[in-house]
Symmetry: C2
Subunit: 339 residues, 2 copies
């Protein structure tokens, strides 16, 4: 049978925040699967901050999306046709189909999902890449010890909310930072010991009250003004897993001076700080099985809560993506492509 | 018997580079030792970059020298009187007597030196704090692997020269950076695979030729322009032990913009870098015995060479110290206080 895939392609590289004209809506007939391949119908598309990086051609850890190519992204899909012994029609799988309604993928890149074990959308969030990013970065780099204080921003997002809840399970005091009263209220629901609103007044002062003993682990996923406010509160030997810098993804030039880099290095020296950048891939071989076991159990037992922000319709992907980069999402951002 | 100690005291806190008027020459009678104390005559005084930090009252890992107090510093001394069963007159000891000709110290803070094992001045350099800083920072944080490239600046200094030679013993390619042709020639004598002069032209270009495969470990002890030149050459997963930032110790304000801190954090993220500040004290409990064993053997066997820059006369300490901060030393800076 033949299918037509509706797609979002990269039309041009954004200068600053992505705009509608950076994306091109297209339709293409779907290539039949060859041996070892599977034809999929996209059910859910994950939207993640890293995609902003792929839209640019600056040197990075992954090669950029080429202008004219379909935008990349993790997907939960239904198997329509299979030329692999590992999958059969009707199965639900996690893949990397991108911003489109159908895709043809190598079976070896797919992971079967069991809808009875957890809602399949969780494979894009709390039980997927964002949850694993939180788990691996916090445990392998942050190395949180009972009684220590762990702080995280974008704390209602899929990474931040997992960081805070895992840290709490490890016996830490947790400080969550988010934008606006609704998100702050949710942080309290999640059990953060302190929930701060970076939009309401002096964050440095708020942090002083929220972390009177200083901060031992700051899980960095935003950068910018929040990082500046955190720095003076970091304790000697504090660890800073650096997993994202959302505040500067749309920056078009270096911020105005003075140059704070030497002061940052001075603080690293005086406080014996560890700053460690990472991409979750690094830890997949050593930690992914532990993650699925631990996090799966914590989610089933209600010890880890999660929130998904699902919008129906692939046509809305660009606007939802742009809004997410600006903090407009509330929970893991997902596009429902077909039910 | 009573002694008079000649001393350099901190007269005022420097603004920028230390000047003669920041130091006060004084004489005081030496306090008699009480039980558990020892009276020492200073033979050699170590001058080290960290002392610049102690002259300021900015928050740091150690409390500052108070205005009016004797300048601190490690010393090799002769025991004149002992009220401790652990030491007897005539012994040579490593202590922390400061910038003065005599001192009274607690026996528990001293370490006996055996002049037959190594020249006693080595306890201030290659077999002392600077050598241990190199050993611990390079091995515990840098974690150099055979075939990797290790770069270090101030490479003829007591820390840098040890870093390069230990890295070479560990099977690494070594890149040393120093100022001026005489120092660069010495780096070649020491066996560095590449010896660069940061005063001669484009360091970025020099580094490209010297480390064609990039840099895996950069042992940071200077900061400033050298660090800027190193950054683009760092490989994914590179480690940066941060042990000093000599280039900015005399800075009186933040450098002019643009603000490079966000770009630095961006690089940490994209390259999965580790920046880790440290003070050698942290590693004393776990690594100091190994250091004395390994480094002692390497020095005895001629596998690690060292160079000392000894000036006679305590009266010259301030000028020698100021010159050292400016790169005027060639090897470990030591004042011979009494022969």
């Amino acid at each position: 049978m033949s299918y037509t895939s509706q797609q979002w392609r990269l039309q041009s590289r954004p200068h600053g925040a992505p705009k509608p004209e950076n994306f091109l809506w297209d339709e293409q007939s779907v290539r039949e699967p060859r041996d070892g391949e599977v034809l999929l119908r996209t059910r859910y598309l994950s939207l993640d901050p890293y995609m902003r990086g792929r839209m640019s051609d600056a040197e990075s850890y992954a090669k950029p999306v080429e202008v004219g190519d379909v935008m990349v992204g993790a997907t939960v899909s239904e198997v329509l046709e299979s030329r692999s012994p590992d999958f059969e029609p009707g199965q639900t799988v996690l893949g990397y189909g991108g911003w489109q309604t159908f895709s043809t993928e190598r079976a070896s890149t797919l992971r079967a999902l069991d809808p009875d074990e957890a809602p399949v959308t969780t494979a894009l969030g709390v039980l997927g890449m964002p949850g694993f990013t939180a788990y691996a970065g916090l445990l392998a780099i942050g190395n949180p010890q009972p009684g220590e204080t762990v702080a995280v921003a974008a704390a209602t997002g899929p990474v931040g909310s997992a960081v805070g809840q895992i840290a709490k399970l490890k016996g830490c005091r947790t400080v969550g930072i988010a934008g606006g009263p609704e998100k702050v209220a949710y942080l309290e629901e999640l059990g953060f010991d302190a929930a701060l609103d970076h939009r309401s007044g002096d964050l440095v002062e708020q942090l002083r009250s929220a972390a009177p003993g200083g901060i031992d682990v700051y899980f960095e996923n935003v950068g910018g003004a929040v990082f500046e406010a955190i720095l003076p509160r970091l304790n000697t030997f504090a660890r800073v897993p650096v997993c994202g810098l959302a505040a500067s993804y749309n920056a078009t030039e270096l911020p105005e001076g003075p140059d704070r880099a030497p002061a940052l290095m001075g603080l690293v020296l005086r406080k014996s700080l560890t700053l460690r950048g990472f991409i979750q891939n690094e830890f997949v071989p050593t930690m992914f099985e532990d993650f699925l076991r631990d996090m799966g159990a914590w989610v089933r037992e209600g010890k880890i809560q999660y929130r998904e922000d699902i919008t129906a319709g692939l046509d809305r992907a660009p606007e939802v993506f742009t809004s997410m980069l600006d903090g407009g999402n509330f929970g893991k951002t997902i596009i429902e492509v077909s039910g």
